[in-house]
Symmetry: C2
């Protein structure tokens, strides 16, 4: 039976075995700092849980779990340089605490370390894991590029947005489950089912993030909401409003970063019923996830663990 | 018999098959731009030649050759951001022509594309190639970090400097030959011999670059010399001068970037006989390379090709 606490314990135990040497602190300290920030470790947990659900000791997948987490933290580190973000999880970002050159080089090192962790596997899994990891990485870069391209465009469609978040966010959750399933010697059917479950959960996860950034509270969102609105960030909410009520929303973009702007933009969103509609969309992805999960040949109790993850995302947070 | 022109032709022919899609020009155009800059393509040539010297059609190693070249160009792209370099090979750098976020993300993409190219091989070579590639990449990041650390230190030893250039420059030439030898089904002895040949040639290559940056001409160096001196760059020349004649060299560091500074620093170098001594050091590495080459089980005519590469580096250019 999958026990989240046990998997978290397994992850923390394995953290000392990631191949970070005690030399060159200028290179490796920012990597430790980045990994020490914590976070929910949702991706490595999904990797370990998928392996266990396939009937294999989750310890077999712990290197792949950390490979996925290392990769995720590498993308955060480089994204923070690209976005010139000053804080992450209430601490200064690496390029602020050290400098930009350090952030770039430590991030590059994390990408190669991630590849090495993924490759810590029996030879008969190497090709499949490596192809999965590399193709997932390419999709994530493409998603990031689409996200940056969107900021300069006024004609982004909702479908384009959904494809962007699929690439930028959902495919890594999917790869986490798929890597765990590969290490768990899963059948193609179970591997694909867990992969599709995670991709749909990832879509719901990102849409919830979009929703909470505008309509959440510090408690539900985990940080001060309103950032997306102040930055005119092209989220599902803004893109839908631009498409359906351009005359109402366009005059509110640009200009002063104020609480009044936040309230005015939220009023447009509410007038279009977007809070309810984004939850309907999230529910649709959660349903697709549930349908995929049925096709995985895993035990009912293990299935309940995955359903519990979905449920915690699906419930309204405010 | 190894024919440089034929290998160059093979490389250019394979350039269309690198996996760069026609979508997302913001991501992929900077990669094409970076690869189109040309350069001598010394690393992929060494990879193909090593494969051919082992008796295997060099076409078998063309993906690995491009993987190494893609990786090399990725390091140049990110190094240029870190150094805030404005031109490379007489063209604007990627972060100048596009922007910094593009340079970071396109570089990340090149690293993953390089890994994918390296992995285009029969399954029985995958583990060995991937381990070689990843461990080489880590060494190069460590060399770059040492190089950055050196700039803030006044007590760098010559041995530390030589270790830095081994990591930052020589090991990639070595990996190019080793990857070609692996694709050529070389014996351990031949693979190690070609690898050591290339590492020593790489050392001579970097020392010649150090020499020419101070004592070369536009013709021999390929660009305006003097940049290292103007930037107080910690090369073998400057480190040796700081260690042996601190009173003469230290007052010349910092301050105005002028032709007078270049001449004054060169005068100190000449007073210590550094031009002759750096050539002696280069000759020592070239001799070590020749000794390694003898141990490779390759034909005399193929050995001549490698010796020709060494000779072109060993000859004094000014």
């Amino acid at each position: 039976m999958i026990d989240t606490g046990e998997l978290q314990h397994l992850l923390e135990q394995a953290k000392g075995n990631l191949g970070l040497p005690d030399v060159l602190p200028g290179l490796y300290d920012p990597i430790r700092y980045s990994l020490d920030a914590g976070g929910k470790r949702i991706r490595p947990l999904l990797c370990l849980a998928s392996c266990e659900a396939c009937g294999v000791d989750p310890e077999e997948a712990v290197s792949q779990a950390w490979g996925i987490e290392m990769f995720h933290n590498f993308t955060l580190l480089h994204d923070d340089v690209m976005d010139r973000a000053e804080t992450r999880r209430n601490r200064p970002t690496v390029h602020v605490k050290w400098n930009e050159a350090t952030a770039i080089l430590s991030g590059d090192t994390m990408l190669t370390l991630a590849t090495q962790l993924i490759a810590r596997c029996p030879d008969d899994h190497l090709r499949q894991l490596l192809d999965l990891f590399n193709s997932t990485a390419i999709k994530i870069y493409e998603g990031q590029q689409m996200d940056m391209d969107f900021e300069a465009r006024a004609d982004v469609s909702v479908d384009e947005y959904l494809e962007m978040i699929r690439l930028k966010t959902a495919v890594l959750l999917s790869a986490a489950c798929e890597a765990g399933a590969i290490m768990g010697h899963a059948s193609d059917q179970t591997r694909n089912a867990l992969s599709r479950w995670a991709e749909n959960i990832g879509m719901a996860f990102q849409l919830r993030d979009d929703y909470l950034d505008s309509f959440g509270t510090v408690e539900t969102f985990g940080k001060v909401p309103g950032g997306d609105i102040l930055n005119d960030k092209k989220t599902w909410l803004l893109i839908t409003a631009i498409n359906e009520a351009p005359d109402a929303i366009m005059p509110l973009l640009g200009g002063e970063r104020s609480q009044a702007k936040i309230e005015a933009v939220k009023a447009v969103y509410s007038s279009l019923n977007l809070p309810a509609r984004i939850h309907e969309l999230m529910d649709r992805y959660t349903t697709l996830a549930a349908e995929a999960l049925v096709e995985a040949n895993i035990s009912p109790t293990d299935r309940d663990w995955f359903t519990g993850i979905s449920a915690s995302l699906a419930q309204r947070q405010s």
